[in-house]
């Protein structure tokens, strides 16, 4: 099912009255360190039928703004300013009065669809309750309307599904239900706070389409809050970029992406990894970290990270001013940047292209995985635990990794990529197949001493740096722990810790700090340093960048590339985000339901993807470029990845495959009955895919 998304929405008449006007909204929270000024003067108008995208990194105040509009902030928060909804100021209204507004004039789509739905009611009941709170309807009429709403948001067989409970729906379907609830009473304003962040990328595309449909159906104005510039590029009419609790740039989506005028926006766009065809663009990291919102210094909060800051930037905070031919920008040098006479990136160095693009000389084989199989029993009953089926998490996965090489394992959640990683790290005989690390078959290693030796060769960097570091240990003790485990003495531990800190670009002074006192980027550096402590040959990286903000990501990508080159490491990267993987991998293996369905050199895979799933995955990743994002051909997959407990006998992708639907009968029969084996692509060494239909 290939379709082109319509080109940019026509500009609605400008004389329409705004449905929502926010004036100088200020939100602060008390904290131990002082007052946290989360939102510091946000103003905007939202016209009916228009979408305002609010983008920002974590801590920029975007979610606080949304919650402030809805009146859902904790009671300790202090709100000032005006939130005018149809001429009525919502600030200062009591909870009772706000409840009349919420769900009636303002609909909210939350980030996590599971916790947004009450688990003990059927979705039909939830929807009809939502209707009956605000409208005088009989139970029967409300139920009928609920079924219609479910149909509208694309729930198949809505009449029967209305009696199902939230846990019986998949993540994407749940988010559809949440959207249905948000639009149930035809609100004039919809607020969506990171509506797709918890979802897989192929499902994200579906949900964003449903959201657009819902908006068209109700004619509501939509406030779309996200950290993903690609989502904004594809779906917003106006974009506001938030930094340190303020809008720093507010413009039409085309102008903003064509010529980002606030240096922060420009640098942010330059730091986002993309999947555009052609060569990969160099990433430029933004130095430093976003400021804490306690006791902000005078001046522009971005000044310390800005390459083109003037002295004046450090003394006065610039107002959001109109710039001719652009939107509103809070920067003293906005006009210079807008007319193209000043490059906001200054002389900031891009990511070391040499290191990321150049394939270092591949050395010996560090890791060889052959026909790896891992299953989990599916059991029923609390006491007897009858085995009712088998979940095939990893199914005959094979790959090889050499020193100085990076392999990216890519797939959506449930594809078995993390299970594969964990099986390798366990260093025990796998359920099926062979794992060989540095020439040693882990299945034949019997003694504990030998396993401990092998442990030194394989280390892991985990996804969430805060979770992976024990909060009660200082950086020094965290780094010393793996060394102590292999029996190093005190003096050599001390010198090695200092070495490690220098290696990952951290100052010695952090060694007596606790992880909570570090920033996200610093924490991930500590995680990497800890993994390197025992001088491993193979580093497993489990989603190493997904918990980091875009502006910090590029710096860590840089670090990983440098370490690989200097230490000759082999990286096994597990990630869901193809765009990020592209910047760190030499080769990529795409996984679906426990199978590797395509593998090849990174650039070949991006320029000439063969498997329909790879193509869909590539086209589902939103690009931070409104024109290309809205005009390119997209392969939108239907449905979601099925449960691995009931694998089809043929191709595992057959239920969602767009090629299968177009194929003729003989191919269809093969797809149904015969599992495709990887076949090499002529003329592209190392490129293999498993599909009957291509």
């Amino acid at each position: 099912m290939t379709l082109a998304t319509p080109v940019l929405n026509p500009v609605p008449p400008t004389d329409a009255a705004p449905v929502l006007s926010v004036r100088d909204l200020r939100i602060s929270f008390p904290s131990e360190a002082g007052t946290v000024e989360a939102v510091r003067g946000v103003s905007f108008d939202l016209l009916p039928g228009r979408t305002l995208g609010i983008v920002g990194e974590s801590g920029s105040g975007k979610s606080a703004t949304a919650m402030g509009i809805m009146g859902l902030l904790p009671p300790s928060a202090a709100l000032r300013g005006q939130v005018l909804l149809g001429g009525r100021d919502l600030i200062g209204l009591g909870d009772q009065a706000l409840s009349e507004v919420r769900g009636n004039s303002v609909g909210m789509v939350f980030q996590d669809p599971l916790s947004a739905l009450t688990p003990i009611f059927s979705v039909g009941r939830l929807l009809s309750d939502a209707l009956r709170v605000h409208q005088d309807l009989t139970k029967r009429a409300a139920w009928e309307q609920a079924v219609e709403l479910l149909d509208l948001v694309g729930i198949p067989d809505p009449r029967n599904r209305a009696t199902s409970f939230p846990h019986e729906f998949s993540g994407g379907m749940r988010q559809r239900v949440v959207i249905a609830m948000a639009i149930a009473n035809k609100p004039s304003v919809l607020v969506a706070d990171e509506p797709t962040t918890a979802l897989d990328v192929t499902v994200q595309a579906q949900i964003l389409d449903v959201l657009r449909l819902a908006q068209e159906e109700t004619g509501a104005g939509l406030v779309l809050i996200t950290h993903d510039l690609g989502v904004v590029a594809g779906h917003a009419d106006d974009v506001a970029v938030m930094y340190a609790g303020r809008f720093v740039e507010h413009a039409g989506v085309e102008e903003l992406f064509r010529r980002p005028t606030m240096p922060y926006t420009a640098r942010l766009l330059a730091a986002v990894p993309t999947v555009d065809g052609g060569a990969r663009r160099p990433l430029v990291p933004i130095g430093g970290e976003p400021p804490a919102l306690v006791g902000l210094p005078d001046g522009c909060p971005f000044a310390s990270r800005c390459a083109v800051a003037l002295d004046a930037c450090r003394s006065d905070e610039p107002e959001l001013r109109h710039v001719t031919g652009h939107g509103h920008v809070a920067c003293l040098r906005a006009t210079e940047i807008a007319d193209g006479s000043l490059d906001p990136a200054g002389d900031a160095a891009p990511v070391d292209q040499q290191a990321t693009a150049d394939r270092t000389e591949a050395g010996e084989v560090v890791l060889r995985v052959e026909d790896l199989v891992k299953t989990f029993p599916v059991t029923k009953g609390a006491f007897l635990k009858r085995r009712t089926g088998t979940l095939h998490a990893v199914n005959r996965v094979s790959f090889e990794l050499r020193a100085g090489e990076t392999l990216g394992l890519v797939g959506e959640s449930g594809s078995g990529k993390t299970t594969t990683l964990m099986e390798i790290l366990r260093l025990r005989r796998p359920e099926g197949g062979r794992i060989e690390i540095a020439g040693t078959d882990v299945g034949t290693v019997g003694s504990g001493a030998r396993v401990r030796e092998l442990r030194q060769d394989v280390q892991i960097v985990m996804q969430d740096p805060l979770g992976a570091l024990d909060p009660r240990m200082t950086v020094f003790h965290l780094l010393a722990e793996p060394l102590r485990a292999i029996g190093r003495d005190r003096a050599s531990i001390r010198s090695r810790v200092r070495e490690l800190l220098a290696l990952v670009g951290l100052d010695d002074s952090v060694s007596d700090r606790f992880p909570a006192a570090l920033s996200g980027g610093q924490r991930q550096r500590v995680g990497i340093a800890r993994a390197l402590a025992t001088e491993p040959k193979l580093l497993a990286l489990d989603e190493p960048l997904s918990a980091l903000d875009v502006s910090v990501q590029a710096g860590v990508i840089n670090l990983l590339a440098r370490l690989k080159r200097e230490l000759g490491l082999a990286y096994l990267v597990v990630a869901h985000d193809l765009a990020v993987v592209r910047y760190i991998s030499d080769r990529i293996a795409v996984m679906y339901l426990g199978h590797i369905i395509e593998t090849g050199e990174t650039e070949t895979l991006f320029s000439d993807p063969k498997h329909p799933y790879t193509r869909a995955l590539l086209s589902a990743i939103p690009m931070p470029d409104p024109l290309r994002e809205r005009t390119r051909e997209r392969v939108v997959l239907e449905g979601e990845q099925p449960n691995a407990a009931r694998l089809p006998t043929g191709c595992v992708f057959v239920d969602r495959c767009p090629l299968y639907r177009l194929a003729d009968d003989s191919v269809r029969r093969r797809c149904r009955t015969e599992r495709p084996v990887p076949t090499p692509v002529a003329g592209q060494p190392g490129h293999q895919y498993a599909c009957h239909g291509v």
């Binding site: 306690v294 959506e412 959640s413 993390t418 009660r472």
Partner: protein
Amino acid sequence: MATDATTNAPSRAAADRVPALARSARKHTDLGLGRLYLRRFLRNRLAVVGVVILVLLVLFAAFGGRFTSYAYTDADFTALTRPPGALHWFGTNQGGNDIYACTVHGLQRSLTIAVSVSVLTILVAAIVGSGAAYFGGRVERVTLAVIHFLLIVPSFLILALVSHHLAGDWRVLIVVLTVFGWMSTARVIWSVSTSLRERDYVRAAEFMGVSPLRIILRHIIPNLGSLLIVNLTLGVVTTVLSETALSFLGFGVQTPDVSLGTMLADGASTVTSAPWLFAFPAGLVVLLTVSMTFIGDGLRDALDPTSVTGSAGGRR
């Protein structure tokens, strides 16, 4: 699938959602954790009152004996069952013992027993509970079976019998109270540890080859810290109560030794004719348990980052 689903999207989402504000706030807090907890604790007025009462009680138990010339064993046959007066501040009992001296000594005894039992209980419970949770599998099942078995046994009865047999030594009482008192705490610690076992930093330590004992001692137990401290203070309350109860029934501390419990038992029969025999030890038990409860609640709020009462803006 099982591991995959949990690591991917949701945690990415969670990382973005909740701690964003808290994180940016914390970045500039150069207060050590200890200072932060102290500040939150001091904000709770009742807890501070609790600390003041407790300190006074401890001082009373330690130095109260200096102010009187009587020892708790001395019998003044010239003053039997005297109400409080200039010579005997808290009066005397039927045997002519000075009640002031008795309460000082009884409080000392009760406090010693309560604190040592509560510390020992927490130690045993922490090691057993977190060990069971960390090792999982058969170790966990067997440990839980033992805990559950001990929990349903009418332990107070057994306690009474055993301590009666071992006759009156307060050190034996400490051992007995510990042996029958650790289970419910261990079970709480076990259930909290099961979630710690799944934490990334515990798994990271495993992948680094850190030994299981070290993981339990360095990673799991320290992260139970707040739970342990709160249980420690509240444990003192329960121990004081069960020691007094045992002694009251005549199974705990035996004459000539004195604890608050034995004094209560002696005073109970004459509560109408000689109320001072009962009132002074009873008052001290109330003060002790109330102060410890206040402190326990205060600690819990101060150490719990999600608590509203402890945080700066909270008014309740």
